[in-house]
């Protein structure tokens, strides 16, 4: 009759997977040795916590198709509970080594997942998104109403150096905090990856693809979403706890719409369709928010524009772009696209420069003209009120835009042809 397999053969992909995880662990260990400037360590630490947060968010977005505008409540509330627990431990009232503090955050996040998730998962799709927005606003407003717990405007602070040293680690120096974060990141990433290999993890994918069909194979879709949200809240809470340790402060901003919007940006930019996408998004996002703000006041605007461009031209995120290009290279067809790709990229870059110049000048004019109208742009002194700067900006923008419009069809055609051929090859090989 049928050929039933007695044992499950390990797919040849598996060794590759082990290698990837080992490589990831290695990377985590040696990163601070490579990027050893003072500020870099703090940046790496931040990226680590945001990575966990983004991965937890992708449990909802990428795996469940659930767009949430209020995910920061789980991370933020986790952070608040963790920081209070740490303060209690520092006062000697409870036993909680810092190493385990993120777990308190995780449990808090999970608890609120149980509480809020019951209400939010009653709907799906767009209504769900709006409900999460409402709940997020609710929590944020509540956090300002109860200063006893949330610390009011100033938030709640702590000192992470308390208690006895654990194996000589006091968590005072940033490097020790980094390795704590790296440890939790690795453990959480494994946990969230393992989730994707469980029945619930697979069924949430089915619910994402076709909720109606999922009901007809015996699953209560609301319950599936609810449980996934609870688990996602757990990991978000861990990231909140780590953030509390890293910054030694948690404020109402940690549960606010801004934080929720940011993690949505980062995860989507990174790529919701791949497990590692959110991690890339976290790196890019933290980099932009921390580093870019040193160079320009308009970084907020740039982040928003970048996000829109990704939505319009690369909705699969950076991860997808990378994987697609890798696939083209793998099939040896890159030679057919690199010319048109360069044309598109060059014109985009030109337009980008023009836009940046214009935006920077405009920002300077409206927000800083009290100090005079000249400023330094790319090393050149520019008078933002005079014409030449604007002419340059406008010309670059125009040339770039026109070039983009001209180069895009050619690129689209070449790209489409190449990918169609690759897919045909895959289909035939099956």
């Amino acid at each position: 009759m049928t050929t039933t397999t007695a044992t499950i053969k390990f797919a040849p992909v598996l060794p590759l997977r082990w290698l990837a995880w080992f490589g990831f662990a290695l990377l985590l260990c040696i990163a601070p040795l490579v990027f050893n400037k003072g500020a870099s360590l703090s940046l790496l630490s931040q990226m680590g916590t945001v990575m966990i947060f983004a991965l937890s968010y992708n449990m909802l977005l990428g795996q469940g198709g659930m767009l949430s505008f209020g995910h920061a409540v789980y991370a933020g509330l986790g952070g608040f509970f963790a920081i209070h627990a740490m303060n209690l431990a520092a006062a000697g009232k409870i036993w909680l080594p810092i190493t385990l503090a993120p777990l308190v955050g995780g449990l808090a996040g999970m608890l609120f997942g149980v509480l809020f998730g019951y209400v939010t998962t009653k709907k799906a799709g767009t209504p769900f998104a709006m409900i999460t927005l409402g709940i997020g606003e609710l929590v944020f407003s509540c956090s300002l109403m109860f200063p006893e717990f949330f610390g009011g405007e100033g938030g709640v602070s702590t000192n992470r150096v308390y208690g006895e040293k654990f194996l000589g680690i006091s968590y005072g120096p940033q490097i020790e905090v980094y390795y704590l974060i790296a440890f939790w990141l690795f453990v959480s990433a494994i946990g969230m990856y393992a989730f994707t290999q469980t029945p619930l993890g697979r069924i949430i994918n089915a619910v994402r693809d076709n909720p109606e069909r999922a009901e007809f194979i015996g699953y209560d879709t609301q319950w599936v979403r609810y449980m996934t949200l609870i688990l996602s809240g757990f990991f978000a809470g861990i990231s909140g706890g780590l953030s509390a340790i890293n910054f030694e402060i948690v404020t109402a901003e940690n549960v606010g719409a801004h934080a929720s919007g940011a993690i949505l940006f980062f995860t989507f930019i990174g790529g919701a369709g791949y497990f590692f996408g959110p991690m890339i998004g976290a790196i890019i996002g933290v980099f932009m928010t921390v580093m870019l703000s040193d160079f320009t006041k308009a970084w907020h605007l740039y982040l928003g524009l970048f996000f829109i461009i990704i939505v319009m031209y690369a909705p699969g995120g950076v991860a997808r772009v990378i994987m697609q290009n890798l696939r083209v290279v793998e099939y040896g067809k890159f030679g057919r696209v690199w010319r048109s790709m360069t044309a598109v990229s060059a014109s985009t870059l030109l337009a980008f420069f023009g836009a940046v110049i214009g935006i920077e000048m405009l920002y300077h004019l409206t927000l800083e003209s009290a100090n005079g109208t000249t400023r330094k742009l790319f090393g050149i002194m520019v008078d933002t009120a005079a014409a030449p700067g604007w002419l340059v900006a406008g010309t670059l923008l125009a040339i770039g835009a026109i070039g983009f419009r001209l180069a895009l069809p050619g690129f689209r055609r070449a790209w489409g042809e190449v990918n169609a051929e690759i897919e045909e090859q895959i289909r035939r090989a099956a």
């Binding site: 039933t4 393992a194 029945p199 697979r202 015996g218």
Partner: protein, 256 residues
């Protein structure tokens, strides 16, 4: 215990002011293959939607294995042993064919909402999914994303998902819609194979499929079941001829 798998008692359904189902009565004994035919707009798909819990009835009763299933949600009805396919292919397009089938068996094998079992280590789900994969003839496409299959392959997968869970009562909504002659024949063979020992309810327009598979035919016109009998008797039924077959018997005489 009732020996009727599905029973409709004076079922009525209105959408707003229009009454689509106007008192439908049907008795489907266990293990029999029923085909539901009727002119377009007669309410065949609506009946399916009512039985499977997609819409609530306006009045009347629907019984599954003797117990009323009014007001139950689709997943509750499914857990009581009824599974259905859809007219417009309804699969998990971002999962592979194998994953589609594996999802379909998870609940029936008792894994429910587990997030502590390792999927790839579950031998029983693997074996059952492979078994169905073989039955529907999609072994070659095991790891292809379901959204990339051809239309006929997707219809076959649709049937596979429907029967994978081991339900006793199978509802197939126009399973051969849009298929060529040879594809339909293959589908009929598949349906015959996989519904051995089960109760089958099938909405169909293709008469050769109907006369080839069905033990009994129920004819639905304007929201009522006007006749329910063996294929031979239906062919000779004057009411049916007038309402549906247009006064003459179908050309294909494929068994009876």
């Amino acid at each position: 215990m009732s020996n009727l798998s599905v029973e409709l008692q004076d079922v009525r359904k209105s959408f707003g002011k229009s009454e689509i189902i106007r008192g439908a009565n049907l008795k489907v004994p266990k293990g029999e293959r029923f085909a539901i035919i009727g002119p377009n707009g007669a309410g065949k798909s609506t009946l399916f939607n009512l039985i499977s819990g997609r819409f609530p009835v306006s009045s009347g009763d629907i019984k599954l294995n003797g117990k009323s299933i009014l007001g139950l949600k689709p997943f509750e009805i499914n857990r009581r042993g009824l599974s259905r396919s859809f007219q417009i292919t309804n699969i998990f397009h971002r999962l592979s064919v194998y994953e589609n089938l594996r999802c379909a068996v998870l609940w029936s094998l008792g894994y429910k909402y587990s997030f502590w079992h390792r999927l790839n280590g579950l031998k029983d789900t693997h074996e059952r999914a492979e078994q169905v994969l073989e039955q529907i003839g999609l072994r070659r496409r095991r790891d292809t994303l379901a959204g990339l299959l051809t239309y006929a392959e997707q219809r076959a997968l649709e049937i596979g998902i429907t029967i994978a869970g081991g339900a006793d009562v199978i509802l197939l909504d126009e399973p051969t819609a849009g298929m060529s002659r040879s594809e339909s024949d293959a589908a009929v063979e598949l349906i015959r194979k996989v519904t051995v020992g089960k109760t089958l309810l099938m909405v169909e327009h293709d008469m050769s499929v109907v006369f080839g598979l069905a033990d009994k035919i129920a004819v639905v016109v304007y929201g009522e079941v006007i006749a329910c009998d063996t294929p031979a008797n239906i062919r000779n039924n004057a009411k049916v001829q007038e309402a549906y077959l247009g006064g003459h018997a179908p050309v294909a005489e494929a068994g009876g």
